[in-house]
Amino acid sequence: MSIKAFELVPALERTLLIGDKTWINIECIECCGRNLYVGTNECYIYHFLLEEKTSTSGKLTFIATKQLHKYLGLKKPVNEIKAASALNRLMVLCDCSVNLLNMINLEPVPTGAKIKGVVAFTVNENPVTADPFCVEVCTISMKRKTIQIYAVHEDRVQLIKEVSTPEQPVALAADGYFICLALSTQYIILSYNTGVSQDLFPYNSEEKQPIVKRIGREEFLLAGPGALGMFVTAAGISQRAPVHWSEDVIGAAVCFPYVVALDEEFVTVHSMLDQQQKQTVPFRDGHILQDFEGKLILATSKEVYVLVPLPLENQIQDLLTGRRVEEALVLAKGARRNIPKEKFQGMYRRILQQAGFIQFGKLQFLEAKELFRNGQLDVRELISLYPFLLPSTSTFMRSHPPLHEYADLNQLTQGDQEKITKCKRFLISYLNEIRSADVANGYKEDIDTALLKLYAEANHDSLLDLLVSENSCLLVESAPWLEKHKKYFALGLLYHYNSQNEAALQLWMNIVDGGLEDTTRSDLYEYIIDFLSFCSDHELVWKYADWALQKNEEVGVKIFTRRPLVESQTIGINPDDIINYLHKYRKAVVVYLEHLVFERNIQKEKCHTHLAVLYLDKVLGLHSQSRNGSEELTSARNNLKNLFRHSQLYRVHLLLGRIKDTDLYVERAILHGKLEEHDKALEILVHRLKDFQAAEDYCLWNSDGKDPLCRQKLFHMLLALYLDPAVTSDALVMAGVDLLNNHAVEFDAVRVLRLIPDNWSIQLLSPFLGQAMRKSFHSKCMAEVALGLARSENLIYRYTKVKSRGNAVALSGKKVCQVCRGMFTEPVFLRSPDGALLHTHCATKSSSPSVTVQTYANP
C-alpha cells in the first residue's frame, strides 16, 4: 500500500548551526517565506535564508545561508518563535514571556512590549478582527486554568479577552472565535466570544502528549485515544474519518491530502482520503514536525529537513503503474482543489483513461467501460490495441506518453484465445454504445469499420443491421475483409450502400448460381428480385432481367410487376417495352398482362386483346390435348370467360373469328353478347348447349346495371326461344314455364299472356300470375303515391306564388337595380323573394342560385 508522497531533503546541516558545540539543541523553528529561524536551548535565535535549488537531474536541494544570530540574554531555552511578517516582527516565547523582535535585525522593539506569564501560545491564522496590522495571539496563561487572547501590534500588545477553562490547558490552536484546547483529561472547543465550551473526547495528557493542530478553516487535527489522528470541526463534530498513526506520536501536520505524523523512529504518511498509511520514512530522533505555509519542516535537535511533497501527478502515476486504480482515482479526485481547474480536467481525464486500460488489462470490462466513458477516451486508442482493426489509411498515433504498456491484444492476453474473444466482444459492445455519442465525432469511419470487421469475424448477426442502416464503413477497408471472411452477401450490401449496385448484384447472383458460397440468405434469389423491383436504375433492370426470368418466370416477372406505380406512368419503364421484351417468356408475359389488366386497370385495347388471345391459345392448346376437361382446362376456360365477360376493350370480332369453329360455345355466346347479338348467343345456349341455367344467367349478367327494359327484352327473347313452335320439346316448354315462374317480375305480363299457348293450365302458371299481379298492383300503388306527392308539392309552390304576389311592389324612379345599380327604364322588372328589385337582363347575369326570381308584369 505504499506510495512515495514525500521526499526528505536536508535543509540545515549540523555544521552550519551546531558545529562542534554538541551541547546546543534546536528547541523551535519558524519558517516564513525564505526566512528560517531557529531557537536553541542556549537562548539564541539564528536567522538563515533558505534557498531552493533544482538540479538539472530534477533533484531538489536547499542551501541555507546564515544571516544573523542573537542571544536573548536569559539563559533559558527559546520555546517558540512565530513570525508576523506584516508587522515585521518575531514573537518569541522565552522564560514565560513573549517578546517582540525585529524580524530582520532581531533587536527587541524599542517599547519593550511583551506578553508576560505565558506557558504556550499560538497565532490565530483566521482572526475575526480583520486588522492587517494586528495579529491575534492566544496564550495559555501561567495563571491556572486560564487562556488569554491578545492583539499584537507593531510595538504594543493588548489583552482582548481572558477565559477560564474547566481544567488546566496543555496545548491549543485557534480559528475565528474558536479555540481548540487540550486539557489535562480531555479536548474541548471553546468559543472565547461566548465562553461556551464543548467537550470533544477524553484524553489523558499525562500519559501521552496531546496534539492540537489547526488544519484549515474551523477544522482541527487532534491526537485521539488509541493512536488516532482525529479530525474535529469547530462545531465539535467529525467530518473525516480518523487516521491511525503510532502510539508514541510526537508531532503531526497536514499537507493535503496527507496527514504526516512523527514518532521516535519514523515519519508516517496517512491519506485523509482513504485513511490508509501510504508512506513510512525512517527518521530517528525526530523532535519537531510543523507545517509553515504549506512547507513541512522536520527537525532533530541538531538538524533541519524539509519534507518535500512529490507532485500529485507523479504519485498518481506511481499508483497507476502499480495498478492501484482505486487509490489513484481517490487521490486524483482528492487533488481536485489543489490543481487549477483546466489542468485538473485534462489530467483527470488521462488518469481515468489509464485506469480504464488497467481494468481492461484485467478484463474488468464493466469498470473499464465506465472509466473510458468518463475519461472521454479517444476510442481509437482502444481500437488500435486490436490488430488490423484500424483502417490502414488511418493516421492515428497513440498518445504520448502512452496510456498503457500494451503493444496489442496478443501481448495483453499472451495469446489466450478465450481472452481475445472476450476482449473482442467487449469492443463490440463498447463501439456499439458510443457509435452515436459525441465522442464518436470525427472517428465514425474508424468505429464503423472496426465494428464491421469484428462482426464479420465473429459471424455476428448485427453485421447486416450495420450495413443496412446508416453507417460510415470504409469501402476499401471493409471489402477485402468481408471477402476474406466469405461474407459475400454482406459485401453486396456494402457495395449497395456505396451506390455500387451492379457490383452488389453480380456478387449476389454469383452466390445464387453457386459460384460463391454464403448461406446468409436462403431466399437470396427472391431478395435479388425484390432488389431489382425497387431498383431505379433501369439499365440495370434490363441487364439482369434475363437472369431473373430464366431462373423462374413467375417470380422473375415481379421485377416488372412490383415496380412502384408512379414510376411506370412517367419516367418509368414503358409497359409496351416490357411486353415486347417478355415475348419469349410465355408464362411471364401472361402474368404481366394480368397485372396490367386486372391490377393496374390499364385501359388499352392492345393489352386486353393480347391477354385474351393468350388465354384463348392456352385453352385451345389444352383443349386439343384432353377431350374431357382437365382441371387445368377448366381453370383456363374460367380465366378466359372471366376476361370475355368483364373486359370491354378486347377486339370481339377477332376473337370470335378465332373460336368460330370450335366448341367453346359458352365463350362464343359471351362474345355474341358483347356484340349485342343476343339472339345468337341465346340460340347457342339453348339449342346447342341446352344449358337453360346458363341462358338465364346470360340474361341476368348481360342486363346487369342496365335499363330494366333491357333485361325484359332479353327475357322475352329467351322465352320466345323456349316457346318457338318450330322446335317445341317438353324440355323447352318446361324451361319456359320455370323461367316465367322464377322471374315473373322481369316480364311484361300482358305480352306473355298473349304469347303462351291456350292449353296451359292456370295451375301451371299460378306462381307467375300471382307475382305478375302483385307487381302490377304494386306499380299502381306506387304511381298513386307519386301522384299524391306531386300534387302536394304543386300546392306548396302555388301557395308561395300567391303569397309573394300578395303585396304591391312600388317601382319608383329612386329605386335601382341590385345588380347593376342602374335605374329602371322599362316597366318590366324582377323581384327576388327577399325583396330585391332587378332588371330582367341583370337577373339572368346574376348567378345567385339562392335567389328564386319571379317575373312581375306591371299591371
Binding site: Q158, G224, P225, L228, S238, Q239, R240
Partner: protein, 228 residues
C-alpha cells in the same frame, strides 16, 4: 469537501458486525473486515440528500469518541449480535448514553445482526455475484429475540423521555439482519433514510427555533471595557 445534510451513526459492541453491515449495504458484498480503528465514514447519495454514515469502533479503547461521533446525528443504529445476549446489554449499559449528544429529534433503530446463524429465513442468499460459499447451518443458539429488541427500543424511548406516539413504531425500527446474506440490510438502511429525510425536510421548512446571537454579541463587545 461536500457537507452532508444528515448524519447516521452505527453503534454497538465490537464484532457485532457494524462494519460488515455497512459494507454489505454500500458494496453489496460480504467479506472479512478488519477491526475498525477509531471510526470510518461513508457518504451516500439519497435522492437530493447527502447522508454521511459513521461506522464506529466498538472497542472500549475508542469509547470516548462515541459522544463526538453522535453529535448532531439524525439517526443512530444500535447494533447487537443475535447470538450474543451480552451485546444487547452493552447497548443499554455503554452505548445509549453516547447518544445524548445526538440531535434532539434523532431516531433510533435496533438491529440484531448475524441472523443467518440462527434463522432459516435469513439464509436466503440475496442476489449475489460469485461468492457462493456454504452457508453455516443454524446450529448456534439464538440468544436475543425480536421481543427483547422491541423491549429495548421502548427503553430507549423512556430514556429519552419521549412519548411512543411521537416516534416511529418499534415494529418498524427493530430489525434482524445478516450482513453475510444481505437479509434485511437494504430494508434497514432504506427505512432509516426515509424517516431521516422526512425529518430533514421538516427541519428545512421550520428553521431552527434558535436566536442568532451574532448581533447581540457585537453590541456587547463595543460596550466591553477596553484593556491596555
Amino acid at each position: 469537501m461536500m457537507k452532508p445534510d444528515v448524519k447516521v451513526v452505527i453503534l454497538g459492541d465490537m464484532n457485532v458486525g457494524k462494519t460488515s453491515l455497512l459494507h454489505r449495504y454500500i458494496e453489496k458484498r460480504f467479506q472479512d473486515t478488519v477491526s475498525t480503528v477509531g471510526g470510518a465514514f461513508y457518504l451516500k447519495q439519497w435522492g437530493p440528500y447527502n447522508i454521511s454514515i459513521w461506522d464506529t469502533a466498538g472497542r472500549e479503547q475508542f469509547h470516548g469518541l462515541g459522544s463526538m461521533y453522535c453529535r448532531g446525528a439524525a439517526a443512530v443504529i444500535l447494533t447487537y449480535d443475535v447470538t450474543n445476549r451480552q451485546s444487547l446489554s452493552e447497548l443499554e449499559d455503554r452505548f445509549l448514553a453516547l447518544t445524548d449528544t445526538a440531535h434532539a429529534e434523532c431516531i433510533f433503530a435496533v438491529v440484531g445482526n448475524k441472523a443467518d446463524l440462527t434463522d432459516e429465513c435469513a439464509i436466503v442468499q440475496t442476489s449475489e455475484v460469485g461468492e457462493e460459499e456454504e452457508v453455516s447451518p443454524s446450529t448456534l443458539h439464538k440468544q436475543v429475540f425480536m421481543e427483547d429488541a422491541i423491549y429495548f427500543y421502548k427503553q430507549i424511548i423512556k430514556y429519552k423521555m419521549l412519548e411512543e406516539k411521537d416516534v416511529p413504531a418499534a415494529e418498524k425500527m427493530c430489525f434482524e439482519t445478516s450482513a453475510k446474506t444481505g437479509y434485511n440490510v437494504d430494508l434497514l438502511f432504506e427505512t432509516i433514510f426515509e424517516v431521516v429525510v422526512s425529518f430533514v425536510l421538516k427541519k428545512r421548512v421550520n428553521p431552527p427555533q434558535t436566536v442568532v446571537l451574532r448581533h447581540s454579541l457585537k453590541t456587547k463587545r463595543t460596550k466591553s471595557p477596553c484593556c491596555s
